[in-house]
Symmetry: D2
Subunit: 250 residues, 4 copies
């Protein structure tokens, strides 16, 4: 089917492939501002950065919360960027609404129907990650929960599914790219960072995603991945990100 | 480890195995009252029944909502029963609190950390279902999100995981029963209805659950399974439920 | 359906549940003779012991081969026992035929159709393990490859499937017990040793298997599991095996 | 690591990506000769075609066997081609040896160690398909069984793994391409036909495979896919194959 483009300011998702990049979570003001500046300088205007961070363990860093939202606001005042950020709780919607340009629904919440309905009532784009063990059909039905509220600006995001394989963190399922385009009008983005959990796979798997028709990639970039508070092993540094840009040549 | 018993009124979960039974969802006033009466007559005082019903598709029956809560209240005024019912949205907590005796967190919401924290703040028992593709470790960490709020009355519930097998709806993983008892102090209940999706497997798999040490079973019972609005193919009728009681002989 | 009993000498499989026990692999003459004597003394006459041992890694112990077959012969001359042993190569059939009473087809070879056809030509019982990721339907079709050669003395054996769970070696899928009995006339045995990979789960999961209708269990027993050449972590010692017998009380 | 190229006549696998193509199974003399001629005319000299065909069900077409080998011989006498064909039984090796240029070990036999050792004794290249639920580590250990016999001309082939997803026949795991190149020196080929089971995905997934560094693709081509005796739904016709060649532009 024809892809329905989703507009984020003056950027269109669903036409020429896009690159979304940024740290896994927002770790501090200077860190995020600095990275946003670097990315903006490289032509990237869709920045990821999570203020609310769903973590499997309650004993690990949970994100900066409202403080993170303020940091996003400040970065946006400095650069002409749009920010993708996760919303985890329908009660946070009001706070997040003014700051974020794309609401991310994380894979753990793909079937959190209360949250899906809440973003469905908003009038801003939603990036809906596939659940860890969701079928394509269930993923599209989750999108229908959002669309049912009148919000049709939905971007799907493949981030790997859970299998028995242990070398990679998840199994990136690129065949969903043609599947989603066959079955729906939604653009689909690929996240090779969560999808593989391995830094050295980000460039090849990003290239593969674009080659099979993905509408973009979302990658985790961190100036010093080894020191990242979350997901450092799947983040690339600036030098590697430059190589990615060269390789994709979008 | 020694199991920490969870008290629901005068009933203890975590000692002698218990049976929780009821319809998948509450379909109407007379239907639920009638079934509660039947179950109470058979000695069952832990009744399941969902007012809020998470459904994969937005196009199917979504539960009666607040009307369902009123029906639960009425049933409780008639019989000395306790009701297990799902809470899907932290904003519903106040309404649900007065009516339900055990809050159920469904498998789709096992990693909905906002909701887990919210039930962690309450002072009523929580039945935490395992996520469709959650490891035992992740499940126990989800329980820690609840316990972190001060609510330690947690009952775990195995309801099958997702595999490649298609004959059963899910793959019931009974080995989690000894695993949970080895790794935690939580009682663990088995749901063979969702775990297999097949009516004829409910009796044998309930017996297996008890045999390997489960603290109870939760089964879907419907007077006319073929007419159930949800999950009829995995519900047993009254005659079959009587056979289950005979077989388990608790 | 009615179960077709399989006769092994004067023992029937498919009626009263049976216990098959023995070491994972035959490690030496005195070790196997000694264990066979112990098991025979406890009333166990279906002894497992592999001379040919399929191993994931070519760098680990591969079984004693023909020497192992001689050890089986000697044990059989001392005790009135029947031995279940794996055949991996159709070219070994002649050698194995005279010694083994039940041919085991391991899970790795469930879809080795040349081997299935070869055992189908023999006139001795076959124990067909489920493949690591085989559906029930594929498993039954594999049995049909054997039956197609005229050998209908087939015993199925569930030994766990591969999932994302890592706490257990595999996920023991007990719901196949009622499934196999619904869909075929074959008896089905459960192997909790391979199915869980954890010694402490063997007793509870054996009890669960019998409770849901399994026609028997096959367990790995080793006098000193910590010193076993293969699979020690999933073998129980003699004291634990005595407890298993008490628990099952067949 | 540097890739060890595998020579098949004057063709090298492990340098510039290659295309292997042909019907799933050899269905008849004129059919195979005709298709080999078409492919040869398009510059394809690595032709797939199975004489021995492993089938899940014993009730479906099992391949032409020795007759198929004769057809391969005839095609080779007409065109300067090399043929990849499956060997399923170590006892067939002698017959297959003279005819095939690359022995294929199918996914069902990845852990058939007797067969692996037998091809390890040969001095012709082996294409080793990944098992349906094999980890990368197990796949590489299976390759070590072959290499242990002195045959180091091993080509790995990813053909999809089994997951809960049902829209595709299997889940094509392209992240194994960088993984295999990181962990071994073997070239790795991708089979999008079996990997997805869907004709319309062959072009995009082939492009993705090459983009992430695969050493080639193996695709099923049939003049009239709807009439194919095996796997027609995952075969492309000549017109589609021409488009694939244009797209890959190797």
């Amino acid at each position: 089917m024809d892809i329905k483009t989703v507009k984020v300011g003056d950027i269109e998702i669903g036409g020429k492939p896009v690159i979304m990049a940024g740290p896994c979570s927002i770790e501090g003001e200077s860190e995020f501002i600095e990275e946003a500046g670097y990315l903006y300088g490289r032509g990237i205007r869709l920045i990821r950065g999570e203020a609310y961070k769903p973590r499997t363990s309650p004993y690990t860093f949970q994100g900066l919360g409202e403080e993170g939202l303020k940091i996003i606001e400040e970065a946006k005042s400095l650069y002409d960027i749009y920010v993708v950020s996760e919303v985890m709780d329908p009660r946070d919607m009001e706070k997040v609404y003014d700051v974020c340009d794309i609401f991310q629904i994380g894979s753990r919440n793909m079937a959190n129907y209360s949250l899906l309905k809440e973003v469905g009532r908003q009038r801003k784009p939603v990036l809906l990650k596939r659940g860890m063990s969701a079928t394509v059909e269930e993923w599209l039905l989750a999108a229908d929960y959002i669309a049912g509220g009148g919000n049709r600006d939905i971007i799907l995001c493949e981030r790997g599914i859970r299998t028995f394989e242990t070398y990679t963190r998840n199994t990136l399922d690129l065949s969903v790219v043609p599947a989603v385009h066959e079955l729906s009008r939604y653009p689909v983005i690929v996240d090779p960072s969560h999808g593989t959990g391995r830094r050295e796979m980000i460039i090849p798997m990003s290239a593969a995603a674009i080659a099979c028709g993905a509408d973009g990639v979302m990658v985790e970039v961190h100036p010093h991945p080894a020191e990242a508070l979350t997901d450092g092993e799947q983040s690339i540094d600036y030098a590697e990100f430059d190589k990615l840009l060269d390789k994709l040549d979008l």
